[in-house]
């Protein structure tokens, strides 16, 4: 595969990368099954020995499971025998995971431990005597958990998780998961667009207060607030963040005067949606650390969760959101978090637009395979952290790392 990059700073990105099935297949292999850590699930979702649940790494179905001693394992959810999905439920608890087709049996660690009629019947049939169950067991992932957030990688060479996430990434996981969490539930959204359009969206702080007018109109998040973008050293992960009540109404009115935002006259009748009870030392009311390739942690006011990107073919992906609270939250706080969840998810006041924006890009760029997206807000050249959010340079960071993993870096490409 070759990619024609007109510029070495990834400020032009070919649209065909969102439409080419060959690119998609390579991404599954070189990125999702390559030297990256993918988010799998939260430990709070499988608290007890023998608990299991299913998830996805790229297009690969994966089982995450806890063994008798409590250790976490992850393996490909595909029977070694004829390729059937071993676990069909979303979750459960079982000492043995049994494929329905020919009842091949797997341990919580994903080892093939038995199969019916192995010795044959009455001395007839059966598997060859030298059949090695271990040799054909499903492919396992290396698993690491950081403060209860479970990541997996298919690749032996992937650096240790904390190194991969970098100091800022590790710090953010520890911030969100500074005490035990409890699952509040799930939402799923299927967006008809390439998964990288969502990845770009998460690195695009420029759109946040423009597309999501609710943010600006009701003062949840405006580019005039103190905030910025942070990245790891390789610029593959990023974080859009903002500090509550750090701008003035006058400043915001002036900044958004030439947009459609109506921050001067609109008021919510019921403002409890906007209430923010600060619960972090850093005082941020919006934090969205995003980790290459498939997850972000999302805090908007007091709604907290994870969002996992599950690619579903070259032109679709699912956004799987897990909402949680802290174990020591009282009833009122849980209710507040659930009401705040009106802001996020497929019906979220400040997130519903992303689905639409991505779908219209996918639709219109289909016929523009020879042209390029323009990514220059915040400047060209080297990618770096900013203390403002009028930038989309983290998108260029994403593409630079994507190109490295895919083996298609621009000549003299920035990193």
């Amino acid at each position: 595969m070759k990619v024609d990059w007109p510029r070495n700073d990834y400020s032009r990105v070919p649209f065909h990368l969102h439409h080419d099935p060959e690119v998609y297949e390579l991404e599954m292999e070189r990125i999702f099954r390559g030297p990256t850590w993918s988010y799998l699930c939260l430990e709070a979702e499988l608290p007890k020995p023998h608990d299991f649940r299913t998830t996805w790494v790229g297009d690969t179905p994966v089982v995450v499971s806890r063994d008798k001693a409590g250790a976490l394992h992850a393996f490909v959810n595909r029977c070694s025998h004829r390729g059937a999905m071993i676990v069909r439920e979303l979750r459960g608890n079982a000492e043995r995971l049994v494929c329905l087709y020919h009842r091949w049996c797997y341990s919580n660690a994903g080892e093939l431990t038995g199969l019916p009629f192995r010795q044959g019947l009455r001395g007839e049939g059966g598997m060859p005597k030298d059949f090695d169950m271990k040799a054909v067991s499903p492919r396992r992932l290396r698993v690491q958990s950081l403060n209860g957030v479970v990541f997996g990688t298919f690749c032996e060479q992937t650096e240790p998780l904390e190194e991969y996430l970098g100091a800022f990434g590790t710090g953010m996981v520890k911030r969100f998961f500074h005490k035990p969490v409890k699952i509040l539930g799930y939402s799923r959204q299927r967006i008809q667009g390439n998964w990288k359009l969502y990845a770009e969206n998460l690195r695009d702080t420029y759109h946040a207060s423009l597309l999501h007018e609710f943010f600006v109109t009701y003062g949840v998040d405006r580019a005039t607030q103190k905030g910025g973008v942070k990245m790891d050293e390789r610029h593959r992960h990023n974080m859009n963040h903002a500090y509550a009540a750090s701008d003035s109404q006058e400043e915001a009115l002036k900044a958004y005067a030439d947009t459609a935002a109506r921050l001067d006259r609109m008021r919510l009748r019921d403002t409890k949606l906007l209430q923010f009870k600060n619960e972090y030392a850093d005082g941020m009311n919006l934090a969205a650390p995003t980790f290459f390739p498939n997850v972000l942690l999302i805090q908007i006011n007091n709604s907290i969760g994870t969002r996992q990107i599950r690619p579903k073919g070259v032109d679709a992906h699912e956004v799987f959101q897990t909402l949680f609270c802290y174990e020591d939250d009282d009833e009122a706080m849980v209710r507040h978090r659930l009401l705040s969840a009106n802001l996020v998810g497929p019906a979220g006041f400040v997130s519903m637009e992303d689905g639409e924006a991505i779908e219209v890009v996918q639709k219109a760029s289909q016929s523009a395979k020879d042209s390029y997206a323009v990514i220059e807000m915040g400047g060209r050249g080297a990618v770096k952290d900013e203390t403002h959010r009028v930038t989309e340079s983290p998108i260029r960071g994403f593409w630079s790392y994507w190109a490295e993993l895919m083996g298609v870096e621009a000549p003299g490409g920035i990193r």
């Binding site: 979303l90 979750r91 699952i183 509040l184 539930g185 799930y186 939402s187 799923r188 959204q189 299927r190 967006i191 008809q192 597309l211 007018e213 609710f214 109109t217 109506r262 609109m266 919510l268 009748r269 019921d270 949606l273 699912e318 909402l323 849980v334 659930l338 009401l339 969840a341 009106n342 998810g345 497929p346 019906a347 006041f349 519903m352 637009e353 992303d354 689905g355 639409e356 924006a357 779908e359």
Partner: protein, 135 residues
């Protein structure tokens, strides 16, 4: 009917002031999880949602069509009905957007029936594109 004709403000008027409207999914309900995709715990929150759709939010331009099955009366005075909701885009392409069930409680206010609680449990847990106009 009001939703299908984009009379969202009229739809809000079907509710009592002290009402509760929630949309959740079967996946959450079956696991006993309280998560909601949309939750308005009084009529003002419904008014806010509708006003936000009219003035603030951007979403997919579409028509809705609800097909609602027969109402069943439950023992506790509430009602239940299945629904299918189709969406049609501006070029006339229709798709099944959501199937699920309603659980509804109504009260009489000044001689008129008003919706007290509406719980939508969507079997279609994977929301196609996005969920803006209420189910």
């Amino acid at each position: 009917m009001a939703l299908d004709e984009d009379r969202l403000e009229d739809w809000v008027e079907l509710f009592d002031e002290d009402c509760d409207y929630r949309v959740t999914t079967r996946e959450n309900v079956e696991q006993g999880l309280p998560n909601v995709l949309m939750w308005c715990d009084n009529k003002n929150m419904l008014r806010d949602r509708v006003e936000s759709y009219r003035e603030v939010n951007e979403y997919n331009l579409h028509y809705d069509r609800h097909v609602i099955g027969p109402l069943r009366m439950l023992g506790d005075g509430s009602f239940e009905a299945s629904y299918s909701l189709f969406q049609t885009d501006l070029e006339g392409n229709s798709r099944l957007f959501s199937v699920g069930r309603y659980r509804v409680e109504a009260v009489m206010k000044d001689g008129l029936p008003k919706l007290k609680t509406v719980l939508v449990v969507a079997d279609t847990g994977t929301i196609p594109s996005l969920l803006a106009t209420p189910i």
